[in-house]
């Protein structure tokens, strides 16, 4: 069972309370933010920083204090290219700066910006996407990173992001298998046991728990205990089948075949 000790009393800010977007109306994109953090009982002089990061790029912005939220004049994302913005992440920190070394009072990490169509507004990404030279393979999953599972696409493909956005065939053939592989990894391959009590009702502490809750939603049932192998297999297959149903995989694929 995964149990985390919080010796620092650091508060976890729910992503559903953070609204970060990128304003692209000017030549240089800039960050906009709206934080709903009143309910956390943070000290009014706690300093708010929002950090934008992507690979070796990093920028940090001062947004005033808990008692005096201030949108900074200069919040341009100067260091980031248009390609970087495709997969940029944000971190929100509330820092106690009364002492010599600033202590973190509250934190939220791995926040995706609200997309233009707001479909993914404020949600933690269940799946990151990265490009990598993988020889002759098209895609694979990297399940070893601590923050989220990563779908790796072969960077040798001419426009890999287009494959993700507009290619129905890719979606229909790959995504159900992604659901199967990730749930199998969590329930069959790794040793940790996850219980529903680890879930605080809104944000998950780990990507594994997020995915299990996603499976719970798909299957309508809580995941079985890992030592019940047959039940686990059945539960995973139900999740995959219901994912295909909810995403209309068969209809979409038939549509592609008809077009061809």
């Amino acid at each position: 069972m995964i149990r985390k000790f919080n010796y620092t009393n650091r508060i976890k800010i729910k992503r559903s309370d953070l609204f970060i977007s990128i304003d692209r109306s000017d030549r240089i994109p800039r960050i906009n933010a709206d934080l709903r953090i009143e309910k956390y009982n943070l000290p009014i002089d706690g300093v708010i920083y929002i950090e934008a990061y992507h690979r070796t790029k990093f920028e940090r912005f001062y947004f005033g204090t808990v008692g005096n939220f201030t949108i900074p004049e200069n919040r341009n994302l100067n260091s980031f290219t248009i390609a970087d913005l495709e997969d940029i992440r944000f971190r929100v920190k509330i820092v106690d700066e009364r002492n010599a070394h600033g202590c973190i009072l509250a934190l939220a990490e791995g926040i995706s910006p609200i997309s233009e169509d707001k479909r993914n507004a404020n949600r933690f990404s269940l799946l990151g996407v990265d490009l990598e030279d993988m020889g002759n393979r098209i895609w694979e999953l990297d399940l070893e990173k601590p923050d989220t599972p990563w779908l790796k696409i072969n960077s040798r493909l001419p426009d890999p992001y287009k494959l993700l956005r507009n290619n129905e065939t890719f979606f229909c053939m790959v995504y159900p298998e992604i659901v199967r592989q990730i749930l199998t990894h969590i329930l069959v391959i790794i040793d940790d046991e996850y219980v529903l009590e680890d879930f605080n009702g809104e944000d998950c502490d780990s990507w594994e728990l997020c995915w299990l809750l996603f499976g719970h939603k798909l299957s309508g049932k809580k995941w079985p205990h890992k030592n019940k192998e047959e039940e686990v297999r059945k539960w995973i297959e139900t999740c995959v089948e219901n994912f295909c149903r909810s995403q209309r995989i068969m209809q979409r694929m038939l549509g592609v075949l008809e077009e061809n």
Binding site: T81, D133, S155
Partner: protein, 243 residues
């Protein structure tokens, strides 16, 4: 020989990759420098830069400084263009893949010459782009990361450059420099990592990374000054300050 910077297109990158594959089989092949100006394989870049193959990089620091200087007039997006760095790798191929004592070339993985896209395996291992990025981020403060030869980035590159929170933090890089860079000998101090005892050796580079990860749970590391971070490090690192 001076040339105006160009970028390989997809076909150029494929050809260069194929050359690397062939070179691993026969280390005596001639280097296809003619690709550099082949308009079927290359495109112009947005902005202007001229590179000189007579420039010798005695260290990664030299390379970082050189590219920071010569690439300053090109569009920022070109810096992320893998075709630019693949082209530069071929242009400086004698230096990024020197002949061994027997007169043969023995190239490493492709990502040393053609940047891997994304932040996956190998993205922090390009022999020319990474020194440029480190120098651009930290300048001379990053000597400890850049003092080695361009073909030997070393373990410190693996431990630090692959971690976004570490490589983007100026105080961390300055402290690393203070602890592990030997100013008199102009090299990384001996014994900063010990592979046999890598998890237990006090004051080692691997311990430094572990300690930073622990401190990060409590402190806003990014706001710490050089002195503030040194203050927080446990005594086990003091040995390097007096060494």
């Amino acid at each position: 020989m001076k040339k105006t910077l160009r970028a390989f297109n997809d076909l150029g990158i494929s050809r260069f990759r194929y050359f690397l594959e062939q070179l691993r089989i026969n280390g005596n092949l001639s280097v296809p420098f003619e690709y550099l100006e082949d308009t079927a394989l290359t495109t112009s870049v947005d902005g202007f830069a001229e590179v000189d193959s007579n420039v010798i990089f005695s260290s990664r620091l030299d390379a970082g400084k050189y590219f920071s200087d010569v690439l300053k007039e090109i569009n920022e997006n070109e810096v992320e263009n893998i075709g630019v760095w693949a082209w530069l790798s071929l242009f400086f191929f004698d230096q990024v893949c020197p002949k061994n004592a027997k007169g043969f070339m023995n190239p490493g993985q492709d990502y040393r010459y053609i940047p891997a896209k994304g932040f996956g395996k190998g993205a922090h291992r390009h022999l020319l782009k990474i020194p440029f990025i480190i120098y651009k981020l930290h300048g001379d403060n990053a000597k400890v990361l850049l003092v080695s030869k361009i073909t030997k980035p070393g373990n410190i590159n693996e431990e630090i450059v692959s971690r976004q929170k570490l490589i983007t933090n100026p105080s961390i890089v300055s402290v690393l420099n203070e602890l592990y860079y030997d100013k008199n000998e102009n090299k990384v101090k001996k014994g900063i990592d010990d592979k046999k005892k890598i998890l237990t050796k006090k004051g080692s580079l691997r311990r430094f990374v572990q300690i930073i990860n622990q401190l990060e749970l409590t402190y806003d590391i990014y706001s710490l000054t050089f002195d503030g971070l040194l203050d927080l490090l446990p005594e086990e690192f003091d040995v390097w300050l007096n060494n």
